[in-house]
Every structure is written in C-alpha cells, then in structure tokens.
Symmetry: C2
Subunit: 311 residues, 2 copies
Amino acid sequence: MSKYAFGVDIGGTTVKMGLFDKEGCVLDKWEIPTVTDNNGEGILPDIAESIKKVMAEKNITAADVIGVGVGAPGPIDDEGTVFKAVNLGWGVFNIPKVLGGYLNLPVKAGNDANVAALGEMWQGGGKGHSNMVAVTLGTGVGGGIIIGGKIVTGATGAGGEIGHIHIEDAETESCGCKNYGCLEQYASATGVVRLAKRRLAKDEKASSLRQGNISAKAVFDAVKAGDDVAIEIAQQFGDYLGKGLAAVAAVVNPEIFVVGGGVSKAGEILFEYIKPAYEKYAFHGCRSAEFALATLGNDAGIYGAAALVIN
Amino acid sequence: MSKYAFGVDIGGTTVKMGLFDKEGCVLDKWEIPTVTDNNGEGILPDIAESIKKVMAEKNITAADVIGVGVGAPGPIDDEGTVFKAVNLGWGVFNIPKVLGGYLNLPVKAGNDANVAALGEMWQGGGKGHSNMVAVTLGTGVGGGIIIGGKIVTGATGAGGEIGHIHIEDAETESCGCKNYGCLEQYASATGVVRLAKRRLAKDEKASSLRQGNISAKAVFDAVKAGDDVAIEIAQQFGDYLGKGLAAVAAVVNPEIFVVGGGVSKAGEILFEYIKPAYEKYAFHGCRSAEFALATLGNDAGIYGAAALVIN
C-alpha cells in the first residue's frame, strides 16, 4: 500500500522538497538549487534525480509512493499545465506529463500561492476546515480560495487575486497591476509603509516612527508599544483589509481566514484591527468567520504540494 | 435505464414543476399552489402526490426516474437540510429524506437562487460554462457562484450574497441587511430608483423621468430614448455594479457573468454601462470575463433543480 508522498515547491532560487507520510507528517526536508539556465530546462530533471536519490537511500519503491505534488510560480490550470513561469524561464507545458515521464510516478501541480494555501488547510492554521481563504500579506497581497477542500483556480488562473479588489476610489498612485486603489496598496508590507508615510506627513504629532526606517514591522512594534500614531495607521490598515475580506466573504462565505506572509509576523494583534472592520462591513451571515495565523511559514508550499496528491 | 428527472421550484405562492429528459429538454411543465398552513407541512406531500400523478399518467416507473431536484427559499446546506424557510413556515429538516420517503426516489435540494443559477448554467445564458457567476437584479441583488459545475453554498449558506458587498463609504441610508453602502442599494430595482431620485433632486435639468412614476424600467426606457439625466443614472448604476463584479472576479475569476432578474429586462443595453466599469476596476487577469443575459426567466428554478439530480 502506498505510504509516502513528495511535496515540491519550486522557487526562483531554490526548490524546497519534502517527504511526507499520508497522515501529513514530514519525514524529511531538503533543498536543491533552481537552475534557470536555458529556460529552466534542467529544473524538472534535477527534481526527478533528487527524488530518485532519496527513494534509493530510504529503500522506497515506486509502489510505496502515492505521488509527487508540485507548486510552481505562475498560472497553472487544474490539469497542471503551466502558462509561462517568467521567474523560471518556462513556457507552456504540462508539468505532470513531463515530471511523471522522468519518474514513472503520479504527479499533480498547481500555482505556488494556491498550493501553499492548501498546505495551511491540511496541516496549518486552517486545519480541520475545508472552506478557507488564505490571505498572504507580503510584498503584495495574495490569496488562495479553497472550497470543499479544492483550490479555486478560476477561468484564467486569477482565482484568489484578492489583493486587486478595488477598495479606495480616491487613490492617485497606481498599483503594480496598473489599477488605482487596490487592497494591496494598503494591506501589503509596502502598503503599510504607504499608510504610515501619509499619516506622518499629515501633521507633526509625536511618534516613534519619526525616527529610523519605516517598515510594516516598525509600525506594528510601535502599536505594541502604545504609539498613538502607529495605532491610527493600524486602524486604517485594518479598515481596508476588513472591508476587502468582507467582500471576499460575500462571494465564498468561508469558515476561516488564515493570514500569513511577512506582515503576519506581527501576530494576533493584527486581528484586533482587522476583525472589528470585517464585522462592520460583512454580511450578517458571514460574520462568524474565524481568523487564524498561518503556521507553516516557508514550509506551506511543500505541505500543500504533498496534499495535492494525498487528498 | 433512467431517462427522466423532475425539477421542483418551491415559491411562496406556487410550486413550479417540470419533467425533463436527461439532455435537458423540458417535456412538461405545471404548477400547484403552495399551501403554507400548519407551518407548510402539506407542501412536500402535495409535491409527492403531483409527481406520482404525472408518473401514472405518462406510464413512468420509478426505474425511469433519475431523481427529483428541489429548490426552496432559505438557507439549505449541501446535504439538502433547510435551516428555516420563513416564507414557507418551515423549520429545520432534511428535504431529500422527507420527500424521498414519500416518493421512494432519489432527491436533492438547494437554495432557490443558487438552483436557478445552476439552471442558467445548464440550459440558459451560461450554457457551455462551468465557472459562472449568476447575478440577479431584482428587488434585491442576489448571486449564485458556480465553480466546476457546483454551487458554492459557503460555510453558513451565505455564498453568493454579492448584493451585500460594501461599495460606498458615504451611504447614510441603511440596506435591508442593516449595513450601509451595500451593492444592492444601487444595483437592484429599488437601487436604480434611489439613484434616480437622488440625481433628479440634485438640479433642475430636464428629463422625461420628472413625469410619472420612477422605476428601473422607466430609467432604462429613458436611456434608450436618449435622455441625458437617465444616462447619467445608468452610468452610476453601471459604475457600482461593475466595481462590485470586479471584486467578485478577483475572488473566483469566472468565465462568465449571467445577469437576470427584473432589471435585466432592459436587455443588452445594461452591459454598455456595466462592462466599461468592470474593465476599469477588474484585475487584468479577469478582464476577459463574458457577460450574458439570463434566458430562462421564471423557469430557471425548475431547470436547475433537474440539473441537481442529472449532473
């Protein structure tokens, strides 16, 4: 009976890999470099070789392996076909077909952000839930929508692009996507800095944020220290994010929001600012949604990749 | 081999019923009154009796019937359990279990709005698609989210409550849901009237809308006649609705929006006002979504109910 699964998370510089049992325990974790030369043509052969090596070392036969799950950056459809992954140099091809050809094992693949969301549902902050929205507050704002245990990829792979919900009519700076007033412009790490700079420029009110570099971390550290200006900034951040997540809830009505990414390192204090706004703007039927922090950090991708083949 | 399915759409005054072949052709359609006396305890027995009568008349045996699908007003979970349908007097019980007991046939049930969305996907404006958002512009604004051919009911049955996406911070009147600034306050039939009254009160600019009763129909009739004030109102309606649907698209990235309900009787002209706003606010990956009018009208419910058991 098959007992093991491999989870593979392909990033721009390293490929993270994990060997899992089917209960979701990670038995081994390792990394190999991502070689993007020649349009990344060596990436999948390198992964196949690394998996074969681990199987040989541990006396794991093909019959022992449920399959290999892969997360990769770029739009990937439900059949595992990638449509250009610019960071890897990849064009259009079917990952399960190519990697499965090298390994003679079942392979499934998905977009890395969506796969990480699946990992958080399986063994992280969303454990025990099957209707979940993952919210990643990093350089941008990403999302992963999971309905009935399955990722919603959408018609063109743009499912869960919640950072680009329009949230502010008055915005004059453009978002990375070229629109104006996207959620990402206020709730990402750079968004918090934007809110902070604007607030500080408004008047001369004393704040520890007037010394040193402004970062999302500095803002939430100042909030924890009771800095009034930082608290105003956190309230604005929470209002935008709570409003955005209320819109998400009116569409898919999740059981839980699982919040990860760099900004989430501030911890539970985030929810003191997000939840009141969420409850204000959310439809009454959606107000009971839970909020939890992501717990798997950079391992969410390998967990979710393994979940692709196990669940 | 089973060849037929029954679709049942329970409304507050009549129960609409249809006999379908499995290709989705309606072979017969009829109605019975909805008797809500004694907490609606007679509704399911009346439906069972009516189905048995039609089966006897047409020499249809139980083996010929794939099943009976039911749409009913109220929150209904994926197993067909209704959680209070106030219009029918119903409390909490499992519709498939009760109706299946009377009929000795497989029964499935869902919320009427969601079931109607499924009908439009199967044989209506969304035919050929499996990722679709149905938008109903009636007294309120309703929605039905379909992913991979399945309705998204959500954690508490509030999936697709897109009328309650917060869209206007400056609103001072409350929505039926008690929040302020919901999409429904501007894009429903009553919402269009609200926008019209506010616009007319703003100045004295000539408009045919200053005579007679203001209704959504009157506004779009005036738009078609080239009335400048009516066109301004339509632009505002389109801006709100386009913005709201762009938020929906950033979550589930549908292939198509299918627009129905009373306001949609204005026809394709609606899209002249919705689409430019949608394209302005939507994430680039979602901009190619199609827009179509619902085509099944009041029959969408029986089609969708039959689809519950056929698909």
